[in-house]
Symmetry: C2
Subunit: 214 residues, 2 copies
């Protein structure tokens, strides 16, 4: 089982590495980081550089496709090479997945039309023009399409996937070995739970956060 | 405020990237990935390559030091260059921190003697020969020394740190923007919560998991 993680400049690191950490522990799985060209790819902060091992055209039929989000998704979703690759990979994939605004790339490739999907809470509405039905849920399964909400939610998505693919025992093992027993010291991780003042403040700055100008 | 993330071959990716994702959002923070030599560093799975921007000797006085864990920690904790750097950096740091078996490097450098600390649940006992007092807690503060348990716990540690450094408002903002509202589909993330059969099975295989042979 080959799992392809799609990188592009301006991706958000945890969107990719969270699920990578969990899914790479799937027995028999081969993980590969891919980008338009093989080589270094810079994250949204400009301070992390990850190597894409393969160019997109070198990985033609992954079993799982995972697209992270990040401010760079605004540019990537206009890149016909990326979108064409997503359509081709999706034609034979078992699971086509995204984290955060990675769902915008899937949507722009035409893969989420008529489907329930999710994204970063600040970017849910951007799915609508592509015919997707945004939900506020953390992880959304619609057939083989699996989308996760903002940044950290990819870890939860990966555990769901591990359960579906390899069963509860494997998923629980990965959770135990990664000691994923979250104990955040605050309870502000969603727009429903955070102070409403903060939520309102960031809604007005959404373009800035999500890189409308990128 | 400069935050140095120490890389070495065989590090566990989420140990580093989880806290990096959260701490890099601290206003005014400068993050830097460092390793014995600048350049590519491979993770424990051998499928992720992250660039260390600077060599250790180029970063002499970071405000925060963060050491991730991973099977490669067994070798790194015998590396006198790394240990000497940790002692020097610690002499002027505001916070000296670790995730997972990263605490073994701090311990081997002599920094945790007489201190409460934590590590991956399978590796707590390995802190004892260095004079540290292992606890089963997820995040342990002892003065400026902050240690987190296995892999994913670095995310919680980072939120604690953000709160101490910049206040609750900033920490809640980072939690909201990373949508860190964990909803794992299983409840097996600690040896107390996981099926005891699994826990026992992995205790007998601890050397394999944590890379005793690495």
């Amino acid at each position: 089982m080959q799992i392809a993680f799609v990188l592009y400049d301006g991706f958000t690191s945890l969107d990719a590495i969270g699920p990578y950490e969990m899914l790479s522990r799937l027995p028999g799985a081969e993980t590969v980081f891919v980008a338009e060209e093989a080589g270094p790819v810079q994250n949204d902060q400009g301070t992390l550089v990850v190597a894409a091992e393969r160019a997109l055209h070198e990985v033609t039929a992954p079993d799982i496709v995972l697209v992270p989000g990040g401010p760079g998704s605004r540019r990537a979703m206009l890149d016909e090479t990326v979108l064409a690759w997503l359509r081709t990979a999706d034609a034979t994939s078992t699971w086509t997945t995204s984290v955060c605004t990675g769902s915008h790339l899937l949507a722009a490739a035409g893969l989420l039309e008529g489907r329930r999907a999710t994204s970063h809470w600040l970017a849910l509405d951007d799915l609508v023009p592509f015919g997707a039905e945004p939900t506020g849920e953390r992880v959304v399964f619609d057939g083989k399409y699996v989308t996760a909400a903002g940044v950290s939610s990819g870890i939860d998505m990966a555990l769901h996937l591990l359960g579906r693919i390899a069963g509860d025992e494997v998923a629980r093992t990965v959770q135990l070995l990664t000691e994923y027993d979250p104990q955040p010291p605050y309870d502000a991780g969603s727009p429903q739970k955070a102070p409403q003042r903060l939520v309102a403040q960031w809604r007005t700055r959404a373009g800035l956060v999500l890189g409308a100008d990128a």
